[in-house]
Structure formats: C-alpha cells, structure tokens
Symmetry: C3
Subunit: 413 residues, 3 copies
C-alpha cells in the first residue's frame, strides 16, 4: 500500500466504527504504526524493583527492538539499545540477569561497555578509532511511582500530566514500594490494535469474562452501577482514599503531551479484592488502612495499562512484534515487604488475570481471523466501547500527522 | 508483479504446456486466482446429511474466508459468513457443532443472530442503531443430490446444466440418500493449481498410484482399455444403469454457466468395488441392484470433484489457502442406512483413497519444490493429461477476463 | 526496494564498515545476491569420493535450487538440475542415494533420463514430441583435488588460478585421496553474509571460541604470533612441506577469474592436530611424513571454505536459502584408507569444529537479531577483520556490476 492510499483510507473511515481490514493486516501499515505511534510514545518497561543492584538488568522488546534496562553504579536506571556499536550483535540475551564485572561485554567480539553504555574496551582497532564515538545508544527513562517508562522518541512527549496522574493513582496505591510477584507472557496471533481495543472496552466482559464480571461492576453498563459506585466512593471517602478520575486519554492529551487516564470502579458488594473468594490476597499497600472495595484503572500512552487493588496491582504491557503478532506481558505487584507463602499465594494472587488473559488471547485471535475476511465490514461501537473508539480515533490522528514529526531512528525501507 | 506484467505472462504461455513458475509462486497472482476464479465459481461444501436438524452446522474455509453451513428452523440450509457484523470476530469455531438455543451468538460481545442470520440481540447500542442493517452476510446455496454447493459470486453462474448432469450421475448413484462415513484433511505445501492439475490427469497413476492402477483401468491410456470399457458398459446396460458422459468442462461450459463433466470408466475385471480385494465394501446405493464394476467421475467448477462406485462414493474438495498452501478434504459416502461395523468397515472403505491421497500429497509437494526453481521450464502435456491442460486453459481464460467481471467483496489491496 | 535505491545504498556505504541493515534483511536484495553473486560463482558441492560408482548421487541445494551430483556410466561426475523437464517435479529426494537401473526416473510421471540427463522414456507423448529437446539441464562441473565444484553461471569464471592454488594446498594435503568421514548440517536463522563475514575473521575467536583459540594461534593478532608462525614454517620446511600463501581473494581475483586464497598458520606449540588433546586423530595425508603442526586455510569463491591439517580436513559450505536463513554444511575428511574405529574416532575427529560451529550458529543469530534493529549502525572493522571487510567490498562490487553481466536462468520474478 502506498502512502497516498493510506491517507485516503484514513479519510474513508466511518466515525464510531472499528478500522477497515487493511489496518489490521497490511505490513506497510504496521511499519507506519511503529513509526508514527509506537516509537513516539512512552511505554512501561516494568518495575524498578526488579533491578535493585548495580548491574542488574532485564530486556524489553518492541517490534524488532531490544532494550537493556540496567541499574548503573550510581543507582540510576538506564535504557540502552541492545545493539553492539561494532557489528550490531545483541549484547545481552535471556530475559534478565546480572552484568558480570560491571561491564556489558558483547559475546561476539568482546567490545565492552560500562553500565552507562560508554565503550571501555575494543581490541585491535585502527589508530583513528575514537572510543567515545561508540557509546551504546540510550533512550530517555522516567521512573514514576516505581514504574519504569521509556520512549524511542527523539523529542519525548511531555510527562508532567502523566506524572501527576500517577502520583494520584499508583502513588496512593503505594506502587513505589511494590515488587513484582509474578509475570506471564501471552503470545497473541493478532494485530496489536485488536489487543488494545479489546483491553479498552468492557462490552465483552459479560459474555467473555464471567470471572471478571462477577467481581468488577465495570462489566455492566454504567447506568446499572450508579448505586454500587456511589457506595464504593463512600467507602473510599471513609478511609480517606482520594483517587480522582482523570481523562487526558488519546486525542484529549493535548499536543506534545503523553496520554493518561485514571478511573475508579467498585468491586461487587462484599469483595475486598478481585480474588476467587473476594477476600484479601496480600497485605495492604500505600495509603490503604483497609480495603475500600474499589479498583483503580490507569494507563499511560497507547500500550501500557495498569490496574490497582488495595492489596495488589497488575501491569499490562502490549508488545507489538509484527503485523499479526503481539505479545502481552502481565505482571502482578504486591507490597515490597510481602512474603510469598506468608502474605500471599501466587496461585490466588494471579488467578483472575491469568484466567481473563487466557480468555482475551482466544477472543482477540478469533477477532483477527474474522477481520482477515474480505467480507469483514467494520460495525458500530456500542455505548460500552467508548474507549475502544477513542483509541481508534487517536490512532488515526497519529498516523495522519506521521509525515510531519518522525520519531528517532532510520525509517527508510 | 503488476497487472500489465500478468497480462503479458498470460499471452506468453505456450499452448499445451504447464504454467510458468510465477503462476505457482507469486502471492499477487494468488490474489488474482481468488478474485477471478475461486470466488466466482460454485464449490461443494459437503453433504447435507451432515446437518440433519435445525441448528446443526459445520464450517467451510476458502482462502481466509470461513462460512457457516447451517440448517435453519424451516429446514433449509443457509451459508452465512462467519464474521460478526459488530467488530468482525469469528462467531463459530471448531469444525462443526450444534448452535445453542437456536441462536448464533458471537462469543466476543454476544451479538446474537437467528439461523437465517438476522441480528436479534445487540446490547447497549446507540438509539440510531438499526438491527436490520446488520444481518450476517450470506452466500447462495444450492443442494443437488444431497451435495451442498455455495459460491461467493454476486452474480452466480448458471447451474441448470450442472444440476442435470448431477441428476444423471450422483442421482443414479443415490447420493441424495447418502451419508458421510468418514473424512480426512490433507495439508499440502503447494499451490492449489498443482493439486488440481494432479487430480485432473491419470498420466501419473501408473508410476505414482500402483494401488489405484490395479483397480481402475483409467490409469492406462484409453486405447488399451477399449475392450474393458465396452465390457463395463455392457454390464451397466444389463443392470439398466444409464450414466451419460458429459463434457461441459472449463471453457466448454459456455459463458455464464458453471463447468461440469461426467465420465464413466471400468474397474479391472472381476472387481465390484475399488477395495483392497475388489469386493463390495458397503450396501448398494441408488439405482444399483448389483455392482456393474464401473466408477463414475464427475466434477462441478474448478475445485470440487467426485467419484462414485455402486456401493460408496468419494468427495474431493480442494481448499486453496495461500499461494503455497492447499488443503484437500476427502469425504467417503455410504448409503444413509448403512451401519458401521455391520454394512461397512471404515478401514476397508477408505483404504484406496487414503493411500492414493497420501501419495498425491507427496508428489504434488515434490512438484512444487521443483517448480520453485529458476530453471523450471514448463514441458508439454502428454496425451493422458488432456484435462490438466484444459484446466490450465480455463484458468488463464478466467484470469484474462478478471478485469471485467469481479466477484463479490472488497478487492482493494 | 527499487534498483535505483540499491545503487544509492551501495554508494552510501562507509568504507571499512559492515553493511547497512537492508543488505541483511531485504528480500529484494537477497534476490540480487542470488543473481549477481551466488549464481555467478563456483562453489564446492562436496567430495567426489562420496559417489564411487555409476549411479551414485547426492543432492546439493542453493536458494530454491536443487542439483543432482551423479556419477555417470563412464565414470564422470555430472551436475543435473533436479527439475523434471515435463512438469517440473523434483526427480530425486533424500540427501543421497543410488539411481535404480541406471535411470533417473521422475516419481511423478516416470519420465526417465540416463545418467547424462538425456531423456530416454516419456510415455504417451504427441507425435511432434522430440525427446532430444528435453534433456535435463546441467551445470558445469570441475573436480579439483577430489573436490567437486559447480556453478550456475552461463559463462563460468576462469578456474586456472584456483586449480593451481588448490594443487598447492589441498594437493599437498592429499585431498584427492581423501574420503568424507562425517558431515553435519547447521540451520542458521541469519542472512548468509553474516555467516560468511563471521567465517572470514578471527577477531571473535578469542571471546567466542575458547576451544579454537587454545589450538590455533590465528585467534590472536598477527603481531603476537610471529615467533610461533616462524617456528611452524621451520617445521614445515624440515619436512619438505611447501604450501605458499596465495591471495587472489575477492576483488583481487581479477576480472573473469574465480576468487582463491591460501594461508598457513601454526597450531600452538606441541600440538600436531587440532584435537582435544593436541594429538593426532587419524593417519597422515598427502605429502606429510609427520605433522608439521600447521593448518592450511583456503577458499574458492564466496561460500566455499576449507581447512587442512596433516591428518584430516574440513570443508565448510555456506548455503544461502532465503534472506534470513542459511544452512552451513561441515564435512570432515580423512585419508581414503583410514578405517573408522582403527585409524580414527568420529567423536575426536569432529570435536573442535562441531563445538566451534555450534558457537558460530549462536553468535551469527545474535548478530542478525541486533542488525534487525532500526538503531543498528554499521561500526568499523578491527585490524583482525580484514578479510570480512574485503568480503563486503567484493560483495558490493558484484552487486554494482550485476546489471551488466547476468548469470544463467530466468531472472524475472
């Protein structure tokens, strides 16, 4: 597909409807997705508690990119491209680890970098060689409430609003003092936008997620929940918990600012956490002296979503890989002092979102299979799919202005 | 490859020879195959006896398309696109099943359709929403002698000649009163045209199918079989069996009419069915009071082929999926009242065509491997490959006029 | 990518640096690689001792091509395209075998060729059919010191210099009287040029190949080895072994001539062969009356590399398949009269290069993973990567003049 065709297709979209087939299937459009949206925005790489000591690292992927998230000697967190400046080899492999001897050493020719990415050793180079020119490329990093955010953008979007929103959501939930208790990776044979649209709406929750729907009132239309939501707000107020609803999502973020949204919603009556039996699953976090029976949804940028309960949290990371392959990483957070087997049981902690994620993988893949049809025709969003529709509006806006402000890197081919 | 290049390549073909490499390897040409030939013609989806009751369904694929073949409340058979009108999800999964509560309910957001495809339930839609505009797309269906035919064409090809031919072949064999005793799917790593060319000629039968060649005289050149074929015709006449040879195959079908051909051929002397021992394998079907020791070949359109014996039948369905992947479904038919273990044994029933199909998969894949070579150069068809050559002539004719009369759907990209 | 873009990219390359990303990832450039370089050059297909008798054959692949290397009735070695002249089927399958009844018979329709590729039997062809027009296509074959070389070029490159160089290297090592003791195939998920660059430099040997580096002094920079190399030359001279260094590699081959290079290098002190314990692993070969503790590296064309020790040898064949998939075949040679279990043990014989090849597969795949990044930027070659740099210079020269002199076959795609 040519760029001109794409502009026409963007104009052709009917407001209030899902995208046409090509947006979910065309490799050229996926390239545009990467350039015009995914590489422009901040995304969550994980939680800083995963790398407590200098030299600890983990790897984060996006498309064909691999980034090393590493704790430096001075205690900072750096994001270094996992691409040796010599002949381009990956430097680290595996998912996480500990750098030996404080040096990131490429296994191919042993070019060796310090934890800030400075090239320290390169044997047998010509006299003209200037080590200082071969520092590992690095990405902007921002840690907010313990969450590590990075971006590939050369001119990163403004994060002030996002930081404030996180302080008033993740901050209240004590995420800066959390740790990762468990993680799962889901490989989804579908375009990333179908996975994100799925996450952004709860119209499907009642038919597709019976376990979720029994715990979160959000599965029902808003007008059915007014009483329960009001009761939830009263419980929060009684405990002094203040988490405002914030909506700077997508196009509402404003030019040059990162998208952020925060929203609270009640659990069904009598439930203190989103568990099998509705009872607590770990020790209380942050400002919570007791559970208020609510959940806090928030997200930053297009592919990083979060869900906080009084006693645990969930990070959702969508990782677009190719036009028809997306990975979804789910991480469960608990209080940093919680002890496995004493304060929490991993099986109970993860049950609801393991179950829900497995269901999501299946329905998103069936969605992709149907969208591949020549006879697929985008239908209208329901009243319960407002955010999916807003996501699509935002996505198309990003693609439209792609031609103007490019993200970093070499976009040729 | 551009459309102009394709026109030139069609003109470049040497008559009497197989196709050039690109026709078997180029994804662009495969798209043209879908549009200009496969989606224009009728093809057999299976046998109506597979869905005796209202709500029974099975799924049929072609390329990226999935179709629900379902028995409605009024007893009709409908072919509904397996693509929800909301956000495009597949509605049914699995190969076959029974619709719950008489409703096709999408597992994603629970849009619910009756068995005629009318949208009955869609929760939480805006006031402007008109349910009647969101009926499942459906395809024309025609049941002939128990066989279910469907087509993606907006203006379907005329079937009168095909119906007549089927009445005089499948009809004589009693296929309207048959049932499916067994099915097998073969996944072939090759372009669909190589699979069809292979089916359309028996030049390869002697070297590649020794089991077939010992049972069907058709494996030998026609001039060697005159005596045996005449004897076969006498046996048929003695039993009052009249099945005419009909040749409206391919280009001979005439404009706007579906291709159909019927041909009889004898089994080797003394054999009453195409079985391991040449003996009967199930109860007699249709007009047969005894076996006449002949077989009846017939086909409708380019990818649906049939073979009838006095006591059983075989349906061959070719299912093009991508440029280098074809599925082949084989179904074995017996009399609807035949009882497994009493009247027939599945192992004996299916032996010859399981053996032959496994051989075909292998030789067609070796053909594709060779055709992929830059040094492949199409050679001349033998006298025993007339129908393969006619298939290719027909295929090129279809591609040539593709630009004029398009089939249904959105052909962009 | 268009041809004009490619020319610009070739001009854009910074001398002394690896190639830009597209050269390792773009399917269009891979097609050019095939046409402009791989199909123009000679490459080693294996060792003639593998087919001692008439009708013995083995199959050789390159890209999508398959070639039958067969011993004819007259004792010659022929290279026949494994593509039937009828409908293009592969004729032989499997890796090697013995032709039945002296005829290459296609398993599809039984067209049958003699061992020179002449069509002998084709049933049921029209009267106008001329068998003589349907001889199997064949490639030029040249056997030098027992090694079988073939080329797809219509006007093959001159081999006189290569033959002379082989006589003075493989010849001294007695390879004409060798046999293949073992072979291994490695499937590498990487572009072929990364695999060849890896082979052409030993900068990576110290970090990535500790086993090799303990045996071959070549793993170290040349200036560290002067004493050891001089001692090695003295040992050779004392035994009357003369193997000259020859450098007609790549661009230095001269127009119309095949690339060839020969180089000797010492083993570490006290080692007589490149084995686990440094001791001999089989009987001495060629002109060696004792081991001189040296190794002889030589190569012909871009993808055929060889390594000779006094008591065994190694053939390295790189087999580009697709833009991101390369096979690497390694064959171990011993004296033709050596007896397994008596003169040599396969485990000891193959240990070093099995170990080293497994390491190479891993590092080359990590190289590809990093090169796929948008942020990959080709760095400068070290002083120990001269040959990798020369390989890349040569490769770009070949691509540049591709437009002028094409290799054989149908290059249209």
């Amino acid at each position: 597909m040519m760029a001109g065709d794409l502009a026409q297709r963007i104009r052709d979209r009917q407001p209030g409807r899902a995208l046409a087939r090509e947006f979910y299937t065309d490799p050229f459009i996926f390239q545009r997705d990467m350039q015009d949206m995914l590489l422009r925005h901040w995304f969550c790489a994980g939680h800083a508690s995963s790398i407590p000591n200098a030299g600890d690292y983990w790897l984060v992927d996006l498309g064909a990119e691999s980034v090393i998230i590493v704790r430096t000697q001075s205690g900072e967190v750096r994001a270094l491209l996992n691409v040796c400046r010599h002949r381009g080899s990956r430097i680290c492999s595996g998912r996480s680890g500990k750098v030996q001897s404080g040096r990131l050493t490429c296994p191919y020719h042993a070019w060796s970098y310090d934890l800030d990415g400075r090239l320290m050793v390169a044997r047998q180079m010509p006299d003209s060689f200037q080590r200082a020119e071969f520092t590992l490329k690095s990405l902007p990093v921002r840690i907010m409430e313990g969450l590590v955010f990075i971006t590939f953008a050369e001119e990163p979007l403004e994060l002030a609003g996002a930081a404030d929103a996180l302080a008033r959501s993740a901050g209240v939930h004590g995420w800066a003092s959390a740790k990762v208790a468990h993680r799962e990776m889901y490989s989804i044979k579908a375009n990333w936008k179908l996975a994100v649209e799925n996450y952004m709406e709860c119209y499907h929750c009642t038919p597709a997620h019976p376990e979720f729907a029994k715990r979160h009132v959000y599965a029902r239309p808003a007008q059915h929940n007014q009483e329960l939501e009001l009761a939830g707000r009263s419980r929060a107020a009684a405990l002094g918990i203040v988490v405002p609803d914030i909506d700077h999502y997508g196009c509402a973020a404003g030019a040059g600012r990162e998208s952020v949204a925060v929203m609270r919603s009640a659990l069904h009556d009598g439930m203190v956490s989103a568990t099998d039996d509705g009872r607590s699953v770990s020790r209380l976090m942050g400002s919570f002296s007791a559970s208020d029976g609510n959940s806090t949804y928030f997200d930053i940028g297009p592919i990083s979503d979060f869900l906080a309960y009084p006693d645990h949290g969930v990070i959702y990371r969508f990782i677009p890989r190719t036009v028809d392959h997306t990975e979804m990483e789910v991480m469960w957070l608990v209080h940093q002092d919680a002890v496995e087997g004493v304060d929490y049981d991993v099986g109970r902690l993860t049950w609801l979102w393991r179950t829900t994620s497995a269901e999501d993988k299946k329905i998103v893949e069936m969605n992709q299979a149907g969208v591949n049809s020549r006879f697929y025709c985008p239908g209208p969003y329901s009243l319960q799919e407002t955010y999916a529709g807003r996501f699509v509006d935002w996505y198309l806006q990003e693609l439209s202005r792609g031609a103007e402000g490019r993200a970093a890197g070499d976009w040729a081919s």
